[in-house]
Symmetry: C2
Subunit: 191 residues, 2 copies
């Protein structure tokens, strides 16, 4: 990896582990094994580097989610696959956790990729659910926009519960709960 | 308010606004209008003061939630009242946000009240839902433990979505979504 790449990857790790406020330029330089002069040669400063890191993480998250959203199967199959995908639960969501960082939320440039990623997830999930409703897989009473927001919220909140408990159990329970609730909305097959 | 009280209240505000890592002893002293010597006379340090602040916030949150959980009405009425209660959505949950603070999660004494509060919420909601099931208000397929975790996760995740969007809309949608899903589990009245 070249120097700029090492800096971005180190920043991604530190943002996930320690948040933005808790990550110093010095810590980034140490993890990347890069001197201060070299860091400021490649990036204007911590916000610039953090923006590159957050964008990279957001792109990867979208690509992974899109694999599940555009897979074959019913809407519920695809939402289930998305919810049950293996995750590093105790580390939390590298994008969602940034919402608790006042310095990220207070900087429109840094907040933008966080906002866009979570909005995109809700939008794509709403499309998948709307498709399921149109195909007659899901009850017509189901509101795709609202349930999409619920699904993304359950994931983000599940991480919060898991971190508090230092256990994946409440995360798994929250996912099982929403899948159980969703199951009651699956239309009976027309025989 | 006496000095110790002013210090605890200032710490509560700062923890909510800036998190633990982002709150310095100096900032607490300034907000409380208290000198450094006086602060260390009342509290051993920032962790000690933060513990008092987190405990106070946790107690208040439980008392407020318990009002809804023990109110009259069906289980769904009570869960609905809890979910729709007025909240300072864009500020987030003063307890949940601490889970994103590695210094809080890394200190067993500080993590304990966060863990206990969220576990208590899940437990009480599971009791309310189990009661609704026993009374025949809810379908027997509904898993009270799992749905309780879902409800708490939707709230915590709703805050995350609202902060990212700088709007209460996704929070309100996530709540509407889970209430819509729950509605399909209400048993038909026996006529």
């Amino acid at each position: 990896m070249d120097t700029a790449e090492r800096l971005v990857e180190s920043t991604r790790e530190l943002l996930w582990e320690r948040g933005y406020t808790g990550t110093s330029p010095k810590a980034i330089q140490q993890r990347a094994g890069v001197g201060q002069g070299s860091m400021y040669h490649h990036f204007a400063g911590k916000p610039d580097l953090a923006l590159a890191a957050i964008r990279r993480t957001a792109e990867e998250m979208r690509a992974l989610a899109e694999e599940e959203f555009s897979a074959p199967g019913t809407a519920v199959d695809r939402v289930t696959a998305y919810l049950l995908r293996e995750r590093d639960v105790l580390k939390g969501c590298p994008i969602g956790r940034l919402t608790q960082d006042p310095d990220v939320m207070g900087d429109p440039a840094l907040r933008a990729p966080v906002d866009e990623t979570l909005a995109w997830l809700r939008e794509r999930l709403a499309e998948v659910l709307a498709e399921g409703r149109e195909r007659g897989e899901l009850n017509t009473v189901l509101d795709p926009q609202a349930v999409a927001a619920t699904v993304v919220a359950v994931l983000q909140g599940g991480y919060v519960l898991a971190r508090a408990a230092d256990s994946v159990q409440p995360f798994d329970q929250a996912i099982a709960g929403v899948l159980g609730l969703l199951a009651a909305h699956i239309s009976m097959p027309r025989t």
